[in-house]
Amino acid sequence: MKGMHGIIFSYGEKPALGQLTACRVHGSLPFGGDYRVVDFVLSNMVNAGITDVGVIMHGKCQSMLDHLGTGKSWDLSRKSGGLKLLPAFAYGESRGVVGPFRGKMEALGSVVEYLRHIRQDHVVLSDSDLVTNIPLRDVLDAHMASGADMTCVCTSRPGSAGDTYFKLDAAGRIVDTAYDIRIPVGYQSLNIFLLSRELLLSLVEECMAHDRYSFRHNVLQEKDGTLHLNGYVWDGFAARINSVQDYYRYSMALLRPEIRAGLFCPQRPVYAKENDAASTYIDPDGECVNSLVSDGCDIQGSIRNCILFRGVKIEKGAHVEDSILFKDTVVRTGAALRCVIADKNVEFSHDVHMAGHANYPLVVEKNTKL
């Protein structure tokens, strides 16, 4: 059938995220006051009319499993198709491999039976660490119009050295792919790839047969002569979250109206797991300035340049600046925070003072009582 099928990769370690991913994969990292990072990828797919999505999982997937549930929140709880969770429980055993996937092709190989049953003509592959709001329908249109074998979404904005970079010719064809380069040049890959189901299957089967596992090496680099790989340049807000610094910088960018207007554009809403928290209450003595605030907070103290997730409590006389407080954080009277990222359910006791730096925010681990 016409249309696209979504595949999301949810595995892997990002050591630079430190404590933030101590108990979760990066896709289930809370972001923007109400979301998990993976919500953006899922919403992009749903907003493009995608009804079937497979999530390939490995590693610390408990919080991701919890979050995704039946897929109801994204309207992906369907009689046929819908959201399918694809944990790699049996894969390692069957191949005698230990540890995480070595690359995307290996991850796809682990679910090759699933791929064979995809109903749609096209498949869009995406990482789960990307916060953006991209019209994937337009990517499909461009893919069809270009006649390319595969379309790779990329941005002219620079990323870090470890990212993948494309060199495009005047027609938008990818003529070179490079990674781990000292000074990045060209277009940074956003790791969204669109191709036909047939091509995907043949690539996966070929790689499996030769024990090749790397998408960027064994496909993007080795096939750019035989396959027509096209770049789709997306210069809207796109945050690939690789480190605590990335996380902090991109979170704080949400306080800028033009960033919010792009990321939360009403034509393509971002769906999140629904919650029943009542409205946030702001006390007569509370002060709340230049901040993004979710539901169910109780603000009696002062917050400035902050992002508050659900159910955060700021007591009278507490001061919080330039900080990100996850769900159910409590800041007691007299406490003062600056450039802090507090994971879920952290409590800052009376008169605790903590400060990081905008270039080096302080992360406080989940459930810590200070």
Binding site: K72, R260, F264, S279, T280, I282, N290
Partner: protein, 404 residues
């Protein structure tokens, strides 16, 4: 599939005393408390009390309500057996009738109730704000072996004549019932929440339907008939927050109670959560020059001006230099730069133009008798610089319809 107890929720009323707010929707669909609608309270009470089968009786303007209830998933009432069912009046071989009264609405759905063969039926109103454990009330009903248990609360004596008043003996068995008595003998007021033993209620509904002059109403007909026949009716004393939000003033009051510590209405209390259908929108942004105090703010808002003593619902905009005080602002309302809103109820998706003024504080009124809150019905558009005086009511036909 047999159930011990099911609930029937009366949600058909127009709520004409809410005037312009209920032009296009039934009263239970009116937004409340920023994130909720009135019907979320009884539906959540059912879910929290373990009642998994609810019939919602609709009649007046049901579209908004049907749409909101959907499959009942927000209240965990999307069940394989039972769940929430919307029950409008229907046509049958012998004719077609609107619901003539509250009792007639249940009478017409005897077939629905019999499907579940319940021992007990709770009859609830769709226009009250309260948190109540019906399972506790059912336990008392069973222990007393009553035919009917009526939830009551003590009201101030000077207000008792506005309610249905119960006189009880030492065992809280009801000895007398008087609808809005001039000289009340008791201050126990009916909250309009009943649990009936279904076999009893079924018989009285059929008998009442056969009476020619009956108004087919629970308070006026069924309860007096049961008392007269010597059935055992028991009062169940409720202590806690309860408010009938059938009037504009009480709707405004109940919203303000959310902002008043000690009022008893604390929606942040998670022990008895109120569930609702959540709008898809990002967290609220509060701007550099915003000044917010003693207010409840739902998500999806953009607040650049002053918001004091106000309930601001999902997806509202308060522009630069705008001021909103002592008001209830319903979802999607836009208050442009420099507008002043005070002591007002602003309906869904209204647009209040730049520097417009809606409502005014009571102390500014020349004649306090003429003062009242200003009310804008859904999608009302107030032009730039226009003044809407206190106690005024406008609906969407005023000016042009606000752009969605």
């Amino acid at each position: 599939m047999k159930k011990e107890c099911i609930a029937m929720l009366l949600a058909g009323g127009q709520g004409s005393r809410l005037h312009v707010l209920t032009g296009d929707m039934a009263k239970p669909a009116v937004p409340f408390g920023g994130k909720f609608r009135i019907i979320d309270f009884p539906l959540s009470n059912c879910a929290n009390s373990g009642i998994d089968t609810v019939g919602v009786l609709t009649q007046y303007r049901p579209l908004e309500l049907n749409n909101y209830i959907g499959n009942g998933q927000p209240w965990e009432l999307d069940r394989a057996n039972g769940g929430v069912h919307v029950l409008p009046p229907y046509q049958s071989a012998t004719g077609a009738d609107w619901y003539k009264g509250t009792a007639n609405a249940i009478y017409q759905n005897i077939g629905f109730i019999d499907l579940y063969d319940p021992d007990y039926v709770a009859v609830l109103s769709g226009d009250h704000i309260y948190k109540m454990d019906y399972s506790e009330m059912l336990r008392c009903h069973k222990a007393a072996g009553a035919a009917c248990t009526i939830s009551v609360m003590e009201v101030p004596w000077d207000e008792a004549s506005r309610f249905g008043i119960m006189s009880v003996d030492s065992q809280d068995t009801i000895t007398e019932f008087a609808e809005k008595p001039k000289e009340p003998k008791s201050n126990l007021a009916s909250m309009g929440i009943y649990i009936f033993t279904w076999s009893k209620l079924r018989a009285y509904l059929i008998a009442d339907e056969a009476k020619e002059n009956s108004s087919n109403d629970f308070g006026k007909d069924i309860i007096p008939a049961m008392l007269a026949a010597g059935e055992k009716l028991v009062a169940y004393r409720f202590e806690g927050y309860w408010k009938d939000v059938g009037t504009l003033d009480s709707l405004w009051d109940a919203n303000m109670d959310m902002l008043t510590p000690g009022s008893g209405l604390n929606l942040l209390d998670e022990r008895w959560p109120i569930h609702g259908r959540t709008a898809i929108c990002p967290p609220t942004y509060v701007g550099e020059l915003a000044d917010i105090g003693n207010s409840a703010v739902a998500r999806g808002c953009e607040i650049l001006g002053e918001v004091k003593n106000t309930v601001l619902s999902t997806g509202c905009h308060v522009g630069r230099g705008a001021s909103v005080t002592y008001s209830v602002v319903m979802p999607g309302a836009i208050i442009e730069d420099g507008a002043v809103v005070s002591y007002a109820i602003v309906g869904e998706n209204c647009r209040i133009g730049c520097r417009a003024a809606v409502g005014a504080p009571p102390e500014t009124a020349a004649d306090p008798g003429q003062w009242g809150i200003a009310v804008l019905g859904p999608r009302t558009c107030v032009a730039d610089g226009e003044t809407v005086p206190p106690k005024t009511m406008l609906d969407k036909t005023h000016g042009k319809e606000a752009a969605q």
